[in-house]
């Protein structure tokens, strides 16, 4: 068993040497119990034949590293000037214009439910006989928004 394990280790070492191109030690091993012989290839130092398919994990040879030619690349374009302007446009229009102005607009949208309630109360009071002048002095707290938690789920 020890011989078998030793053979296994040697085989692994030689396999690693073959694939990684490490200069292989000139080891030859013959099993005493069987006729197994492990020996490095006669053409040592040369890597095994390249696999027909590339390793998927290797960087694609067609992949261009934008940082190589332009260390300040923002990832938009190869041309540094276009890349810079594209970044500026995205940040200016995306953040400064749309997000800032847009969120301000949305934040200041009136609460129409409140104003509709108030108007409904005023009109109801008017038709109940209240004088038209009472519309000038509306009780702003009277327009309570309906308590949604009491509604049916």
């Amino acid at each position: 068993m020890a011989a078998g394990l030793l053979g296994l280790c040697t085989r692994r070492l030689l396999a690693a040497a073959a694939t990684r191109g490490i200069p292989a030690a000139r080891v030859r091993w013959e099993s005493s119990s069987s006729r197994a012989v492990i020996a490095p290839s006669a053409v040592v130092g040369k890597r095994g034949p390249e696999p027909t398919t590339r390793w998927q994990e290797d960087p694609d040879t067609e992949d261009e590293n934008l940082y190589e030619k332009n260390p300040d690349s923002h990832g938009y374009d190869k041309d540094p000037a276009v890349d810079l302007w594209n970044m500026r446009v995205v940040f200016f229009f995306g953040f400064s214009i749309v997000l800032v102005l847009g969120s301000t607009f949305v934040a200041y949208l009136p609460d129409y439910r409140w104003s509709r309630n108030l108007l409904a109360l005023a009109v109801f009071a008017f038709f109940q006989g209240a004088s038209p002048r009472s519309l000038d002095h509306l009780d702003l707290n009277a327009a309570q928004i309906e308590d949604r938690s009491k509604r049916a789920v």
């Binding site: 694609d60 067609e62 374009d77 995205v90 995306g94 953040f95 749309v98 997000l99 509604r151 789920v153």
Partner: protein, 459 residues
């Protein structure tokens, strides 16, 4: 509405007439400005709806979806710039044209007043999406994916066309604004049961309902990044929007016809969440996660209570932004390793720490962490389904747990642990990618401060 539709259509001549180095800058700028204009639709002064013309209207349901649609176009353009950089100029312009055409159809679909017009535009959105998937997808499976996508949706929607024509004959009008005042209940008969099925199946396939969802993982996985983004963020919501609109005319059949679909959705959300735990393909995991989230929306729409409608609307907007962001993150991995296998790009937190922060935020919103709008949507749906039937809490609770499990599994697999030996050749994150993630996350976080604009018309 023309103030949004005409500029969107004009993005096409802008693309074709722009100089080579200006196509992305011009289209991104103008699409961002169009999204700014669309925010004006959130100003809904009337109790009913904002009627622009006989053909277009918007109400608190369609306005947030429209804003999401217009916001997504510049994000899609930014996300596509890298993988199209090697393509010839004509093909880049064609790609942008397809995205713009899709955008135009989507805007018109969400604002159509008339159901036949809605149907035609609903079908029209299939064409540019199919072209994007089959022409610009990366693997040979994209052709099969395109077929599944097209034919599943068509099979579901052709009965809808027949049903709509039949309803037009019966009522004389298919205008949304008039139909909401149509108080006549559908009489109980077999033909009306089939009418209900015909009306709903198109949207069930689009959502998709578990059982009719086979097209979704294929289409999402094989599509290029912009295709995945628009599919997950908007096209699924077309189904939800359609269901919310059409159920107004299908009472009282919905109260008993909904049962099998409710069961399928309740069970399906658990099944698809569990499948996510077993996925090796990152995009496939995100695709199945979309099915699970949309099953919640189907449950909400079929229960038909005010709170469930609020939950459905909020969940559609929240999921749109979250899943689009997850696809962008998956794409940032794919552009580096050219593989969608999760374990091939693991331990990225050490190498790309800022991107890890985006991964964390996206995973946390995906699992509906408070106080995000994802939680608001899910919570409203869970509460209304509990009110409908107490026992659904078991299924809903299980789904929420499994959602948390697979979101964290995805985060931990891609970000934590020791990175693989081959991965030290990956490039650092680009400003473009970080800006893209920020433009997804910022609206999501801002909405958690003011969720009432996305709670729909029952708020």
């Amino acid at each position: 509405m023309l103030k949004i539709i005409i500029p969107t259509i004009m993005l096409m001549p802008l693309t074709w007439l722009s100089k080579k180095n200006m196509i992305w800058i011009n289209t991104t700028t103008y699409s961002l400005l169009i999204s700014l204009i669309s925010l004006s639709l959130l100003n809904q002064p009337s109790n009913n709806s904002l009627n622009f013309s006989l053909m277009f209207f918007s109400d608190p349901l369609s306005a947030p979806l429209l804003v999401l649609t217009t916001w997504l176009l510049p994000l899609m353009l930014m996300a596509s710039q890298h993988h199209l950089s090697k393509e010839p100029l004509i093909r880049k312009k064609l790609y942008i044209t397809m995205l713009t055409m899709l955008q135009t159809f989507l805007i018109m679909t969400f604002t159509a007043t008339e159901l036949i017009s809605f149907y035609i535009l609903f079908e029209a959105t299939l064409v540019p999406t199919l072209i994007i998937i089959t022409r610009w997808g990366n693997q040979t499976e994209r052709l099969n994916a395109g077929l599944y996508f097209l034919f599943y949706t068509l099979m579901g929607s052709l009965p809808l066309l027949v049903a709509l024509i039949s309803i037009q004959n019966l009522t004389g009008s298919l205008n949304f604004l008039l139909i909401q005042y149509w108080n006549q209940a559908l009489p109980d008969s077999w033909s009306n049961i089939f009418l209900w099925l015909a009306c709903m199946m198109a949207f069930m396939v689009k959502m998709p309902l578990y059982g009719l969802h086979l097209w979704l993982p294929k289409a999402h996985v094989e599509a290029p990044i912009a295709g995945s983004m628009v599919l997950a963020a908007i096209l699924l919501k077309l189904g939800g929007y359609g269901m919310l609109r059409i159920t107004t005319m299908l009472n009282p059949q919905t109260s008993f016809m909904a049962y099998p679909f409710l069961m399928l959705s309740l069970w399906g959300m658990i099944m698809t969440s569990s499948i996510c735990l077993r996925q090796t393909d990152l995009k496939s995991l995100i695709a199945y996660s979309s099915v699970s989230h949309m099953a919640l929306v189907i449950v909400a729409v079929l229960i038909q209570t005010p709170w469930s409608y609020m939950g459905a609307t909020a969940l559609m907007i929240a999921h749109g932004l979250t899943s689009s962001m997850l696809f962008c993150l998956a794409n940032s991995n794919y552009e580096r390793t050219h593989s969608r296998t999760m374990i091939l790009a693991r331990g990225l937190q050490t190498l790309l720490p800022l991107m890890a922060a985006w991964w964390l935020l996206a995973s946390l919103t995906n699992l509906a962490l408070p106080p995000s709008i994802n939680l608001i949507g899910e919570l409203f749906v869970v509460m209304s389904s509990f009110s409908w039937s107490n026992i659904t809490i078991i299924l809903m609770g299980t789904n929420i747990t499994i959602t948390a499990l697979y979101s964290l599994y995805m985060l931990i697999t891609t970000q934590r642990g020791k990175y693989t030996h081959h991965i030290n050749s990956i490039k650092p994150s680009f400003t473009r990618e970080n800006a893209l993630m920020a433009l997804h996350m910022t609206p999501l976080l801002l909405l958690s401060l003011n969720p009432k604009i996305i709670l729909g018309f029952t708020y």
